[in-house]
């Protein structure tokens, strides 16, 4: 069986209040990826549209997008796994190509979150948890991740200051990423300054600065079989490993609260499939929807032992010049988190890094990269390993 490659990547700028409709938003990421790949719409055998539902009035966006993007009459699919939708879309594209059904597949992620208020958005996201047994207590994403943060702090002595360092790193790179929604600097001192919005409480022990911003955005990844990838791309990036897992939606059904079991399981699968280990990863994108999520990702991916994630950020080993650069595009914290578009944006960053085209964010000569993309509160986990 041949390899599966990524031949084109694109994303819109991630913004607040995108001045257009969802099909127009999707066009932006799609156009960039198609121009990057040098493909025409006739070259694309199928499309996979990825988002978290309930933000849009449009039901079944796949057909609408396929028409707007010129991808009819080819088949189109809608895939959702909350915040990891477009990584799951990539998994579907991989299997469509491996099966021989299609040569080339476009994975298009999008989300327009600004159609509804922030409180409504929290309510929607909260309903990505267990609506029968948990949502009636008034749950929301920051509070769930805060429960993980509390458990991590209790067991391992991780502190709110350690979490603040993750945000400072994100902002370091968000400032130089022209696609990021949050481009202002963030300093460590802001977290102890009552005048700074960063220090405001959200859900203890998490503060405003620990949380990523909602954003509108789209992403696109063009995937092809080995033959087409070599024909279209000068520097194809190969999918070396894929992992995916799920767990109990209700926290009552889980056993681990200092990490995400889905990330551990997805990582194990992806490493095994790729035949590599954590030490082989040269650059990574992890799902830092909250600062604690990045610390847990270090540990769940094997970059650090359980409980020692905080040491990686304290020693700056996850900065661009460090031993394992993580989220050197600003991450979700600075780039913004348009749910369905996020995985595709992470994949784009790693593809650009492996091609040596990441500009000011470029890590020195990476050969293998990793994408860690989580849906809901560790409900779904996807880990993807890419190589040159």
């Amino acid at each position: 069986m041949g390899k599966v490659g990524i031949i084109g990547v694109g994303q819109s700028a991630f913004v607040r209040g995108y001045p257009g409709s969802i099909r127009e938003l999707a066009f932006e990421g799609f156009k960039e990826a198609m121009q990057d790949a040098g493909t025409t719409t006739k070259d694309i055998g199928a499309s996979v549209i990825c988002s978290a539902p309930e933000y849009d009035k449009q039901r079944s966006p796949a057909g609408v997008f396929a028409e707007y993007l010129g991808l009819t009459p080819q088949p189109t699919f809608y895939v959702e796994s909350l915040c990891s939708s477009s990584s799951m879309g990539l998994r579907l594209a991989y299997s469509l190509i491996k099966s021989g059904l299609h040569d080339t597949v476009a994975v298009i992620g999008f989300q327009k979150m600004s159609e509804i208020s922030s409180a409504e958005s929290q309510e929607r996201m909260g309903r990505g948890a267990d609506i029968q047994w948990e949502s009636p207590f008034g749950t929301m994403m920051p509070a769930y991740y805060a429960m993980y943060a509390r458990a991590h702090m209790e067991k391992y002595g991780t502190t709110p200051d350690d979490l603040a360092l993750v945000r400072v790193k994100a902002a370091t790179y968000g400032q130089i990423n022209e696609k990021a929604v949050y481009r202002k600097p963030v300093t460590f001192d802001m977290f102890s300054d009552p005048e700074s919005p960063m220090s405001g409480p959200v859900a203890s022990p998490l503060r405003v600065g620990d949380c990523c911003a909602n954003a509108d955005g789209s992403s696109c990844v063009i995937v092809a079989n080995e033959e087409k990838a070599k024909a279209f791309a000068e520097k194809p990036v190969w999918i070396l490993g894929l992992g995916a897992a799920s767990t109990s939606v209700n926290l009552a059904g889980r056993d681990l609260f200092t990490g995400l079991s889905v990330a551990q399981q997805a990582a194990e699968q992806a490493y095994k499939m790729a035949g590599v280990g954590p030490k082989d990863i040269d650059v990574a994108e992890v799902h830092d929807c909250f600062t604690i999520a990045e610390i847990m990702a270090y540990e769940n991916l094997g970059f650090a032992q359980p409980g020692e994630g905080k040491e990686l950020i304290k020693s700056k080993e996850t900065y661009k010049e460090g031993s394992i650069p993580v989220n050197v595009d600003g991450g979700l914290l600075s780039k913004g988190h348009p749910i369905g578009a996020t995985g595709g944006s992470q994949i784009r960053t790693i593809v650009l890094q492996l091609r040596g085209e990441a500009g000011d964010m470029q890590v020195k000569d990476p050969e293998i990269g990793l994408v860690h993309n989580i849906g809901g509160v560790g409900l779904y986990g996807n880990v993807t390993i890419l190589g040159r």
Binding site: Q122, E154, A203
Partner: protein, 144 residues
């Protein structure tokens, strides 16, 4: 046209805002009215479930019996919210939490009269029925 069938929507009374009105475990709300927080246990294989379920994924049976959540559980983790989703603003501030009872865990809220300074991960707490100001029912955790 036949007579319109009565719908059993008791579950809509669960929580500040319920997003579910009909479930096969509607009796959960009946028990809350009686001051009891109940889970279900599979009569075939003995697996205990909280939250209660109508169906057992272990043996695929649907023959359940109710058991009461009694005694103390250990506080696994919690978070106090300063913002709330739409519909829950009146309840602020409140803390969501998880208790470990060994055979099962219970997700819920810490009682509003427990000061945050007295909350410790690992402390023993009990689960008690709580009537909300809007007349709805839920359960909360109190110091054991």
């Amino acid at each position: 046209m036949g007579k319109k069938k009565e719908q059993d929507t008791r579950f809509s009374k669960f929580g500040t805002v319920s997003f579910t009105s009909i479930t096969k475990v509607n009796d959960f709300v009946e028990y809350l009215e009686q001051g009891k927080v109940m889970g279900t246990r599979c009569k075939n294989c003995g697996l205990a479930f909280f939250p209660p379920r109508a169906d057992c994924h272990q043996c695929l049976g649907s023959n359940m019996e109710w058991f009461e959540v009694t005694g103390a559980g250990r506080l696994v983790t919690y978070s106090k919210l300063e913002y709330a989703p739409v519909g829950f603003g009146e309840d602020l501030p409140y803390a969501i939490a998880l208790l470990d009872y060994g055979d099962y865990k219970v997700f819920g809220r810490i009682a509003g009269d427990v000061p945050e300074s007295e909350i410790r991960v690992g402390m023993e707490m009990k689960t008690v029925v709580n009537r909300l100001p809007n007349g709805q029912l839920n359960y909360v955790f109190q110091k054991a």
